[in-house]
Amino acid sequence: MPFAQLMTSGIELAMNQLLKLDEDSQQRLKKLSGKSLQVTIKELPWPLLFSFSEQIDVRAVMPSDKDLEPTTETVDCLIELNLETLPKLRDSSQLTQLIQQKQLNLVGDIYVAQTFSALLKDLDIDWEEQLSGYTGDVVAHQTFASMRTLFDTAKTQIEQGAIELGERLTQSDSIAVKPSEMFEFSKNVSELRSDTERLSARLALLEQAKKADTGLNN
């Protein structure tokens, strides 16, 4: 199975789906049309190459192409960074600072990197609007109020997890799970589970309420 391609097709699909959900993103994507950006994440075996048109195409630069190392003649902008620095790219105003701190290598047109970062950061997706297409406005609104709480909790947990995972990945010693970590993980999972259960109970209530509502109107 070509794993690099499995990964790039996943990234490509996710990015383009997200862009589709934000009507204004097309306008911002246009600024990048015809440009390309190569991102080397040191922990990944293959550099990623993004080409911009009316959508984003993502390719893996295969090792057999090492003899054809890209230069700024073939790619508009090349950046190289650690996985750890990746989340910081979301703030395009930080780019120059990251370069100065040597956390990021950049060759070529910085505008491409900045615009790409802004494109993703400024994604403004009205999830409530998306859902209301299926469920009607009231249910969508209520659901989102609950979802937001759940997401906030999940986000904190995921961020915490990511930091821990990052630390673990950089420590080259044992990757075996320690009992204390397992305990922490199970605790997180059960917290998440009870949050989810609370949400689904709330959804069930809402559904009942909605049924009762429509029943009265008939």
Partner: protein, 262 residues
Amino acid sequence: MSTPDTNDTSASTQTSESTTHFGFKQVDTSQKVNMVKDVFQSVAAKYDIMNDLMSFGVHRLWKRYTIDCSGVRAGHKVLDLAGGTGDLTAKFSRIVGESGQVVLADINDAMLKVGRDKLRDKGIVGNVQYVQANAEALPFPDNSFDIITIAFGLRNVTDKDKALASMYRVLKPAGRLLVLEFSKPTNDMLNKAYDMYSFHLLPKIGQLVANDADSYQYLAESIRMHPEQEVLKTMMETAGFEQTTYHNLTGGIVALHRGFKF
């Protein structure tokens, strides 16, 4: 490695002056082009869905791999030969952009038409040209393209040596050819399982979905008759390609051959 049987020798896929294989059958060389045409005429409408079904969607990854190895960039001129319904063309078109060009060439107008309609629906217009052409005698000037791809097409071509020579001619110096094609699984177990699949299951799926068991029987047979990895590599070298290499995908079910013209 087993010695290739007589049908798979590098010199030619023709068994004698006047006959060649069509799947496992022997037919007049002059007839094969039309018989292949009939196959694709009849599968054209259901081609995409069958591809997904038959390969469990993995053909998309094989094609992505081909594009990743093509080194394509903005401004390039690409020939997607035997391009059929245009999967590779779509991606190439977005990458080469306005300053580049993609030619989708196929011998079969039904496949070209399905391809053209599909690409138009996807909003791909402008830098794509559609050309009905036989790979054995490409209607383009010498040194025209930076990249040529032929995906799952070469095995259907009657005279593969002639086709490779024709591709070499129209490729620009420093350009590269990528041949994506079914090949020989490297593992015996996989080989057997794969034979079971392609000779027993595949024609049944073909019958069920496309109501056309014969065409899919031909596809299975033509896969088996196609020259295996090393043989195809030698054929490319004979045609003049240099730095020729191949890479097995999914255990050699498919191989990507690559060669340069210098």
